[in-house]
């Protein structure tokens, strides 16, 4: 421990000296320090998550009580306070876009990746600090463009987060904002992923071979490869759609379109399916971009809080790699209903079934780690444990959607919404919350309140299931997604009580986040101070230094002597960075 305290005091001295060297704007706004950039990503992403969530809370009013004025704040949006179908479509499209591209990915990859990855490989910073700075600000600009689109004459993009043409091409200007915003976000992701991969591979400290990487590092690297190689096709598609909108080309417009009774004056000859291919070529790997950092975080937290080695580390890593690879050849299972032939659907059903195998292996290794362990129920561990069954539900419900025959009925219904929200909300987001609780002491040197954390956890876990579980039943009943008012349909009206229930649960979920936000904000200053630099007994490299880490992360050289999750014979954790057993 003397080593730790030494680091700690040293770190303090150092950060003081840096404070004098750099002006505020260089230290906190345009900083090249990966830790500051990580926090910038984190704060921005949390803002966008809350914003996207807020959009959904408003939509939930319309869904539960169609065409009734939203109480108190409805007048802000429309004259009569009723959410109009135009706004509903805008909110729907932007909810998806913001949550995926501006919320979960920047939080999982931008924030956790940036903050933890250099620490976990023992580096002093990312390989290209200026590029890191650039990628944050490009992301920021992309976000601003997306938000600005709400103020464009006819509002934001309203063609769904998938932006299928021809609808998106004939849509209002918000779509142009969306496309330009996406080009920025994609560029930011590309820069970030180059940085991640180079840092992880090149800046490893002595002794840190690939098979000694913590799970989170592996997850981040595989994620970075997905972003790097899957995003460019969407960037190309985005440019093509921009051309369609601005230069009058017909990449995605077939000949002979008649929109609102007028023949569209374009050359025609394009193909709307092409967009779907290019979009899903990214957007399926994107699902794994959303989930893999979460898988990594859960792995770290389980490893620390079960007080035993992670079961089947190698199998787990190979599964993550295989999962990432396979995610590139399943994309067309999102397009089963576009009229594809038997051969093509057979191919994509088969690959979809194959990709379920590594997912189940990942889940199994985590479940098996629990056996024979001694589970310490910290707040992050609660979230990490909850992740397992939630992810399982999300994964299992993918099965009927991945088989074309059952997909016929379930495609584009609430079943799909339930399926991917189980993966992303109580899945990824729970894991990311777990990560916040777990690494908060690392970042600030203080704990978050345990009591508030437990309140947050139990309220959230109940409310979130109340939101998403009924969606499976709605989907079964055949209620399509993206409907402004499902009660118009007889089967929609019959399922409407579920909608009311879901809305109440969604609002409860919002309330449940208040203790979390309060906890995050106040613990920074008033939280219980940590007594050692390694409060959880972590074995990976980020715990080798002071908490919070000094500007250059490691003041004394570190070296790695063993795998990430090992224990000594007297059942004490054996950190990677300690030479003697």
């Amino acid at each position: 421990m003397s080593q730790d305290t030494h680091n700690h005091s040293h770190g303090h001295d150092h950060s003081h000296s840096v404070g004098h060297e750099l002006p505020f704007w260089r230290k906190y706004i345009f900083s090249t320090d990966h830790k500051v950039i990580g926090l910038q990503y984190g704060i921005t992403a949390v803002f966008f998550l809350l914003f996207g969530f807020g959009l959904m809370l408003l939509m939930r009013w319309q869904l539960a009580f169609p065409k009734q004025a939203i109480p108190l704040i409805g007048k802000l949006f429309t004259e009569d306070g009723v959410l109009s179908p135009e706004l509903y479509n805008q909110f729907g499209a932007m909810h998806g876009t913001i949550m995926v591209f501006l919320g979960v990915v920047p939080l999982g990859v931008g924030a956790f990746g940036n903050y933890l990855l250099p620490l976990q490989v023992g580096a002093q910073d990312m390989a290209f600090p200026k590029l890191n700075l650039l990628s944050y600000w490009v992301y920021f600009i992309g976000g601003v463009i997306m938000l600005a689109s709400f103020f464009s004459p006819n509002g934001a993009a309203a063609s769904g987060w998938t932006s299928y043409p021809p609808l998106s091409v004939v849509a209002d200007n918000g779509q142009t904002f969306w496309l330009i915003g996406m080009v920025f976000l994609i560029t930011s992701s590309l820069l970030g992923s180059v940085n991640t991969i180079v840092t992880a591979i090149q800046l490893r400290v002595k002794g840190l071979s690939f098979m000694r990487w913590p799970v989170l590092v592996w997850a981040q690297v595989v994620t970075a490869f997905l972003l790097l190689l899957a995003f460019p096709p969407l960037e190309a598609a985005g440019v093509l759609q921009l051309m369609d909108r601005l230069a009058g080309t017909s990449f995605f417009l077939p000949s002979g379109l008649v929109v609102s009774g007028e023949a569209l004056k374009v050359s025609g000859g394009g193909n709307p399916i092409l967009w779907q291919h290019l979009f899903w070529f990214l957007a399926h790997p994107e699902v794994y971009v959303l989930i893999l950092p979460a898988v990594g975080i859960v792995g770290e937290i389980i490893a620390v809080n079960t007080k035993k080695p992670l079961y089947g580390y190698k199998t787990l890593i190979y599964s993550i790699i295989f999962l990432g690879f396979m995610s590139f050849i399943v994309w067309a299972h999102h397009m089963f209903m576009t009229g594809m032939g038997v051969t093509m659907s057979t191919f994509f059903q088969a690959t979809t079934m194959i990709i379920s195998v590594p997912s189940i292996i990942i889940l199994t290794t985590y479940l098996l780690t629990l056996w024979g362990s001694s589970i310490r129920y910290t707040v992050p561990m609660l979230f990490a444990i909850a992740f397992l069954p939630m992810f399982a539900i999300g994964g299992l419900t993918g099965l009927p959607l991945g088989l074309t025959a059952s997909d016929i009925h379930l495609h584009d219904t609430y079943y799909v919404i339930g399926h991917f929200h189980y993966v992303v909300a109580p899945g990824s987001l729970f894991a990311l919350m777990a990560g916040v609780y777990h690494w908060y002491p690392k970042i600030t040197g203080r704990f978050m309140s345990d009591t508030l954390g437990k309140i947050h956890f139990w309220l959230s876990v109940v409310a979130i299931n109340g939101v998403f579980m009924p969606m499976f039943f709605m989907g079964m009943a055949g209620v399509s997604r993206r409907l402004y008012d499902q009660t118009i349909y007889a089967h929609g009206a019959a399922a409407q009580p579920l909608n009311v229930f879901m809305s109440y649960c969604a609002w409860a979920l919002a309330v449940a986040q208040l203790p979390f936000l309060y906890n995050m904000a106040t613990s920074w200053k008033w939280g219980k101070k940590i007594e050692s630099n390694n409060p959880w007994g972590g074995t990976t490299l980020e715990w080798a230094t002071a908490s919070p880490p000094p500007h250059e992360n490691f003041t004394t050289p570190v070296e790695v002597f063993r795998g990430p999750y090992e224990y000594s014979s007297n059942k004490k954790p054996l950190p990677q960075f300690v030479q003697e057993a």
């Binding site: 899957a230 193909n271 070529f281």
Partner: protein, 100 residues
């Protein structure tokens, strides 16, 4: 051997190679333009043009980009890219033939 640590002599040896490749590229450019004026049947024309382009691209990649003597890490990354590129090229096949 890494060209990152090449000696002056080795660089000089390389120089001749660059000029040879340059000559080859110019010849291939002339060939591919000449072929196009023959107005061959379209399938043959595409095949020939892409074959010539691949050879040219291969020369650039191998000699100018030094892929002929690169490190394992770069190779493995490029193999991965190549495989995913092939997946990407399934899109035309699926779009054109998958809807029958």
């Amino acid at each position: 051997m890494s060209h990152g640590e090449m000696t002056v002599e080795e660089v000089k040896k390389h120089l001749r190679g660059y000029y040879v490749v340059f000559g080859a590229l110019l010849c291939l450019t002339i060939i591919t333009v000449a072929i196009s004026y023959l107005h061959l049947p379209i399938h043959l024309a595409i095949l020939l043009a892409m074959a010539v382009a691949s050879v040219k691209g291969g020369l650039v990649a191998a000699y100018f980009m030094h892929l002929i003597s690169e490190k394992k890490i770069i190779y493995s990354m490029l193999w991965l890219t190549l495989i995913l590129f092939i997946f990407l090229m399934l899109i035309p096949i699926f779009t054109l033939h998958g809807y029958k």
